[in-house]
C-alpha cells in the first residue's frame, strides 16, 4: 500500500514537472503596434511575435492570455499567468512588486499628440493611461492629468476636446498621428527604462530563461529586425 502511495506521488510529481513547461503570457491586447487583437480575434503585434520566438528559444510552450491593464500586475502575482509582456516599462516602483527581464527595447522618449502643434503642455490638460509611466510623469510635474483605463480612450479624449494633449509611447502615437487633425508635438519626454517582461519575484528560473533568450535575440540581430518590422522603438 505504501509503495502504491509512493508511486502515485512520484507520478503526480513528474506530471507536475511536465505541466510546468506551459508558460502563460499575459498581455493587454489594446496597444498597437506592441500588442493588439487582430481581425481573427487573436493576439497580434510586436510582442506576440517576440514572445513566440522567445518561447521557442527557451524551449517553453507558451499560451497567450488577455488581461486589462489595471489588474495586470495583481493577476501576475496571484498566479493567473506567469509573465507580463505588454509594453511595460521597467521602473523602480514596479520592480518592488515584480521582477523584470532585461529590456527588449531600449528606453525611448514619450511623445505628445495634440490638435494644435503650438500647444504648450505645461498648464495644459494632459491625458494618459492610468498606472503608466506617463501618468506618473504628468502627476509628478503637477500638471492637470486625466487618466483613462485604455490607450484608445486617451486619444479619443484629445479628439473630443476633453484633454489638450495625450502623453504616451511615441510608437503607439505614431499609429494615430495625422488622423483627425492630430499632430505630434516637438517636445519629447525621456522617461522609463526600456521595456521588459514582468515575472514574479519568486520565479527566478523563468526569468533566467527569458533573459537568455532575449540576449540571444539581441546577439544575432533578430530582435532589431523585429523592432524595425513593427516600428516600436529605436534599435539596439
Amino acid at each position: 500500500m505504501k509503495k502504491l502511495i509512493l508511486s502515485t506521488a512520484a507520478l503526480a510529481l513528474t506530471a507536475g514537472f511536465a505541466m510546468a513547461d506551459v508558460v502563460r503570457m499575459g498581455t493587454e491586447g489594446a496597444y498597437a503596434p506592441w500588442n493588439f487583437v487582430n481581425d481573427a480575434g487573436e493576439i497580434d503585434g510586436f510582442e506576440r511575435e517576440l514572445g513566440d520566438e522567445l518561447c521557442k528559444r527557451a524551449e517553453l510552450k507558451c499560451e497567450w492570455v488577455k488581461n486589462d491593464w489595471d489588474s495586470i500586475i495583481p493577476n501576475l502575482v496571484s498566479g493567473n499567468y506567469d509573465t507580463i509582456i505588454a509594453g511595460m516599462s521597467i521602473t523602480a516602483e514596479r520592480d518592488e512588486v515584480i521582477d523584470f527581464t532585461q529590456a527588449y527595447t531600449p528606453p525611448d522618449p514619450s511623445a505628445y499628440l495634440a490638435l494644435d502643434a503650438g500647444l504648450d503642455v505645461e498648464g495644459a490638460v494632459v491625458a494618459a493611461q492610468a498606472t503608466t509611466i506617463q501618468a506618473a510623469f504628468v502627476a509628478e510635474k503637477g500638471w492637470t492629468l486625466i487618466e483613462f483605463a485604455t490607450p484608445e480612450e486617451t486619444v479619443a479624449a484629445v479628439k473630443n476636446g476633453e484633454a489638450d494633449a495625450v502623453l504616451a509611447d511615441k510608437s503607439f502615437l505614431d499609429t494615430m498621428a495625422g488622423q483627425d487633425g492630430l499632430v505630434m508635438l516637438e517636445r519629447k519626454e525621456a522617461i522609463g527604462g526600456g521595456v521588459g517582461m514582468g515575472i514574479r519575484e519568486s520565479d527566478g528560473d523563468l526569468r533566467a530563461k527569458f533573459d537568455a533568450a532575449i540576449q540571444s535575440m539581441k546577439d544575432d540581430g533578430t530582435l532589431n529586425t523585429l523592432i524595425a518590422k513593427w516600428e516600436v522603438s529605436s534599435q539596439w
Binding site: 503526480a12 505541466m19 506551459v22 479619443a156 519568486s202
Partner: protein, 294 residues
C-alpha cells in the same frame, strides 16, 4: 467567413459590412452576448437559492444560524459591489488553490506567500497552467457566477425575509389550528404565499443584475461592453483589413438597444408572473382579480 471576404479593401456597402461583422473578432462579441445570457440564466436561480437559504436562516429559532443569516445579508449588502468583485474573487481563487495545495503537496516547504507573490505547487493550480485556455475561461466564469450569486443572494435574502413576514399572521395561525407542524406550515402555507410579496423586490434585483453584467470584465471575462469598446475603437489600416474611425458610439447604441429590449421583455414576463401569483391571494391585487372575474 465568406469566400468573397478575402480582400475587404475592394468591397463596399453591405458586402463589406457582412464581411466586417463576421470577423473572428466580432465572433468574440457574439460569444460574449451568449456568455452574459448564460450567466444570467445560471446566476438568477442560484442567487434565489442563496437568498432563500439566507432568509430561512435569518428566521431560524437556532441563534447561531440566525446570526449567520443576518450577518450574511448585512455584510454583503454593505460592501460596495466593485470592492467585493475585485477583492473577493482573487481571495476565493487563492483560497481554493491553498486548500488544494495543502492536500496535494504536503511536502512543499517553501511558504505560499513570498512577498507579494502567491505561490502554490504546480499541481495545486486551479485550473492547471497546462489546461487549455477555455478551461481557464470556464473556471473564471463559474467564479463569476458564484460571486454574483453571493452578492445578489444577499439582497434577495433581505427581500424574501420581508416577504415571509408579510404573509398574514392569521394564515399561519389557522395552519397551526389545523394541527400542522412548523415545517408543514412553512412549506405549505408560508412559502407558496410569500412570492407575491417578494416579486416586486425580486424583479428590481433582476433588472439590476442585468445591468451589473459589465462588472464581468473586472473578473477577467470579456463581456459585451469590453468588446464594444474594443471593436468600436479607431482601427488603423496598418493592423487590420477593416480600418475605420471611432465607431464606439454605434457599438454602444447597439448595446443600448440590447439592454433595453432585454429589460422590456423581462418586464412583460414579470408582469405576467405577477398576475399569476396574485391569483386567489388576500391582497388588493387578488381582490381586484376576483371582482373582475365575478
Amino acid at each position: 467567413m465568406f469566400s468573397y471576404c478575402s480582400d475587404p479593401s475592394t468591397l463596399e456597402g453591405l458586402t463589406w459590412l457582412s464581411c466586417y461583422l463576421t470577423t473572428g473578432k466580432h465572433m468574440g462579441l457574439y460569444i460574449s452576448v451568449v456568455t452574459v445570457l448564460v450567466l444570467l440564466a445560471i446566476t438568477a436561480p442560484v442567487a434565489l437559492l442563496f437568498g432563500f437559504a439566507g432568509a430561512t436562516a435569518a428566521r431560524s429559532r437556532i441563534a447561531p444560524l440566525r446570526w449567520l443569516g443576518k450577518g450574511y445579508t448585512a455584510i454583503v449588502r454593505g460592501v460596495p459591489d466593485i470592492a467585493f468583485f475585485l477583492f473577493f474573487v482573487i481571495a476565493l481563487d487563492q483560497a481554493f488553490e491553498w486548500l488544494r495545495h495543502q492536500v496535494k503537496c504536503p511536502d512543499w516547504d517553501a511558504p505560499v506567500r513570498q512577498g507579494n507573490d502567491f505561490v502554490v505547487c504546480d499541481i495545486a493550480k486551479l485550473p492547471l497552467s497546462s489546461s487549455p485556455q477555455w478551461v481557464h475561461e470556464t473556471y473564471g466564469f463559474f467564479l463569476a457566477v458564484l460571486t454574483f450569486s453571493i452578492v445578489f443572494g444577499a439582497f434577495a435574502s433581505n427581500v424574501l425575509f420581508g416577504a415571509m413576514r408579510a404573509v398574514p399572521q392569521a394564515q399561519l395561525e389557522t395552519a397551526e389550528a389545523y394541527g400542522m407542524t412548523r415545517r408543514q406550515t412553512f412549506w405549505r402555507i408560508l412559502v407558496p404565499q410569500m412570492w407575491v410579496y417578494a416579486l416586486p423586490g425580486l424583479s428590481n434585483l433582476w433588472m439590476v443584475l442585468i445591468k451589473a453584467t459589465p462588472l464581468l470584465f473586472l473578473l477577467g471575462i470579456e463581456d459585451i461592453v469590453y468588446w464594444a469598446r474594443e471593436l468600436g475603437g479607431t482601427k488603423n489600416p496598418k493592423f487590420t483589413d477593416y480600418p475605420h474611425g471611432d465607431w464606439r458610439m454605434w457599438y454602444f447604441l447597439a448595446l443600448l438597444v440590447f439592454y433595453l429590449t432585454f429589460t422590456k421583455v423581462s418586464e412583460v414576463v414579470l408582469d405576467r408572473l405577477m398576475k399569476k401569483l396574485t391569483h386567489g391571494q388576500a391582497t388588493s391585487g387578488g381582490e381586484a382579480q376576483r371582482k373582475a372575474a365575478a
